[in-house]
């Protein structure tokens, strides 16, 4: 007996129509736009070309990409070395406070990073709390220029994105089978060897997920350099914003955005490979 399931049909069709129209079609349009050129009178000239992709090798674009990868990479690295021990301790807390401690990380995860970046601005500005404190203590006499520098941008990015590193790491470490660590210790492995050969490989999916959730936004959160870095520091996000809203060169902006998407695809691939590998290995062990 197989009746036509109307509910299932309606659900599947609604979901696909919405996501198809608002998620798939727009990305196809970006891809097409990246292969057009800026028009003289209209927004784009309808003629397929790959010239934008060659233009990416222009020194201006290469410089922004390198600078942006450097800033985002530094931010990701800092988040990882600060966040990993934190997530590990948090996951291993056998405390009745664990729920509260986790909540205190979830709150900054969900609150507006614009507001949180603004909080950093108020601290770093010339008449901000740090300068006031240092002058009051007599360490300095003139306010330091803390804002509008590359380091201010990195501080802002780390401050905004650290929860995005901690939470996936926490979820991964939480699932870690402690018996494996005990077994390794029983077999005579030192603490460092256990970390290198057992803990690190098993938490690799969490590490990659964290890197993905920090690195990609760090390249694209254009308002953080706007607020903390002045006009000097440009991220790929600023480049895209600029091409779309100021230069009105949508094809070039789309091309840059495609590069960002490709980067995401690459990271997703690494993530999927590492998590399936670990699942397989764990199944073999059991």
């Amino acid at each position: 007996m197989r009746q036509i399931n109307i509910f299932k049909k309606i659900s599947v069709i609604t979901i696909w129509l919405w996501l198809g129209f608002f998620a798939l079609v727009p990305n196809v349009l970006v891809m097409i736009t990246s292969m057009l050129q800026q028009g003289d009178n209209e927004l784009v000239r309808l003629q397929l070309t790959l010239i934008n992709y060659f233009e990416l090798f222009d020194t201006i674009y290469v410089r922004i990409f390198v600078h942006s990868i450097w800033l985002a990479g530094l931010c990701t690295f800092l988040c990882l070395i600060v966040g990993y021990p934190f997530a590990y301790i948090l996951a291993r807390t056998h405390h009745r406070y664990k729920g509260l401690l986790l909540l205190l990380v979830i709150i900054p995860f969900w609150t507006s990073s614009l507001i949180r970046s603004y909080a950093i601005v108020t601290i770093l500005k010339a008449k901000g709390i740090i300068n006031s404190l240092f002058i009051w203590l007599g360490i300095i006499h003139q306010p330091l220029q803390l804002l509008y520098s590359g380091s201010a941008v990195v501080v802002g990015l780390v401050y905004s994105l650290l929860p995005f590193m901690i939470l996936p790491l926490y979820a991964n470490i939480e699932k870690l089978d402690m018996r494996l660590i005990d077994a390794a210790r029983d077999l005579g492995a030192t603490k460092l060897t256990v970390f290198r050969k057992v803990i690190l490989p098993l938490t690799m999916p969490g590490i990659i997920a964290g890197i993905m959730l920090v690195f990609l936004p760090a390249m694209s959160m254009f308002y953080i350099p706007d607020l903390l870095g002045g006009a000097k520091t440009l991220l790929v996000g600023n480049l895209i914003e600029n091409q779309f809203l100021a230069a009105r060169n949508w094809p070039m902006g789309s091309t840059v955005s495609i590069i960002l998407t490709l980067l995401m695809g690459l990271m997703l691939l690494v993530y999927w490979r590492s998590s399936t590998k670990i699942n397989k290995e764990q199944q073999e062990l059991i």
Binding site: F7, I15, I115, A119, T122, F222, G253, L260
Partner: protein, 255 residues
């Protein structure tokens, strides 16, 4: 690491998270426009916020978009989770992947892609374009929240209901929704905060006639730092704080 160093490390990170916010809130009560020195307590900046009629209409815009987007996204996200959990259909794996990609993809990519879509369709930017964008980026978060709750359900319940003659829509309405409502409400609340706080996507898809709070804050901050912005940010932060706490309590409710 011993207990003490663990404890101090954790404390340091929590201080890093919360000290800037606390300072922001404390100084929203400071009776001085420029100085960071304490000049006494005042409600002045909050009174200015309340008296600002432009800001009032902007706040109402944000609330309307937030409520509508969260409601629509919750309905569609819940449907997505239920469909993915219960049915086999063509393109199921693709849908799974798409939801995952939508969560990790950078906001700016979605922002410009929707801008291109609207411009191709010749839809002028404003309330509707903003609302559709917000619904779209909230759906995956609701779907994931509800789906993870569903994996804890006993599949036999559905079989039992079906054996007793319930149609799928009845099962959805009478069994799935009552069992999942904490996750559904949590999904709604999280969507509402996402919508209320979004900067990047909204930046590209709203028109000059339809301003919302985060974009207003962004343009205010660009012009200069004032105690009113401190007050506004403190209000926004408190709202989010409350919503996040309630949503987490919902998610931890025992089934």
């Amino acid at each position: 690491m011993n207990r003490l160093s663990k404890l101090s490390y954790m404390t340091l990170i929590y201080l890093f998270f919360y000290v800037p916010i606390v300072i922001l809130i404390v100084y929203s009560f400071n009776n001085s426009t420029y100085s960071m020195l304490w000049h006494g307590f005042t409600w002045q900046w909050y009174q200015q916020l309340i008296a600002d009629t432009d800001l009032q209409s902007i706040a109402i815009h944000s609330l309307i978009v937030g409520i509508l987007a969260a409601t629509a996204a919750t309905i569609m996200g819940t449907l997505t989770a239920v469909t993915l959990f219960r049915y086999q259909f063509y393109g199921k794996k693709l849908l799974h992947t798409l939801i995952f990609i939508l969560i990790v993809s950078p906001d700016i990519v979605m922002g410009i892609s929707l801008l291109i879509l609207y411009s191709t369709m010749k839809i002028s930017l404003g309330f509707c374009t903003l609302l559709f964008a917000h619904i779209t980026f909230c759906i995956p978060f609701v779907a994931v929240t509800v789906y993870s709750r569903m994996t804890g359900l006993d599949k036999n319940i559905f079989e039992a209901a079906r054996d007793l003659g319930a149609k799928d829509f009845t099962i959805f309405l009478r069994i799935i929704i009552p069992l999942l409502w904490p996750a559904i409400i949590a999904g709604w609340l999280l969507s509402f905060t996402l919508s209320l706080d979004d900067v990047i996507i909204s930046y590209f898809v709203t028109g000059p006639d339809f301003q919302i709070l985060p974009l207003q804050i962004f343009s205010m901050v660009r012009l200069g730092i004032t105690p009113e912005i401190n007050a506004l940010c403190s209000v926004m932060f408190s709202i989010t704080l409350l919503i996040v706490i309630v949503s987490q309590m919902m998610l931890r409710k025992k089934q």
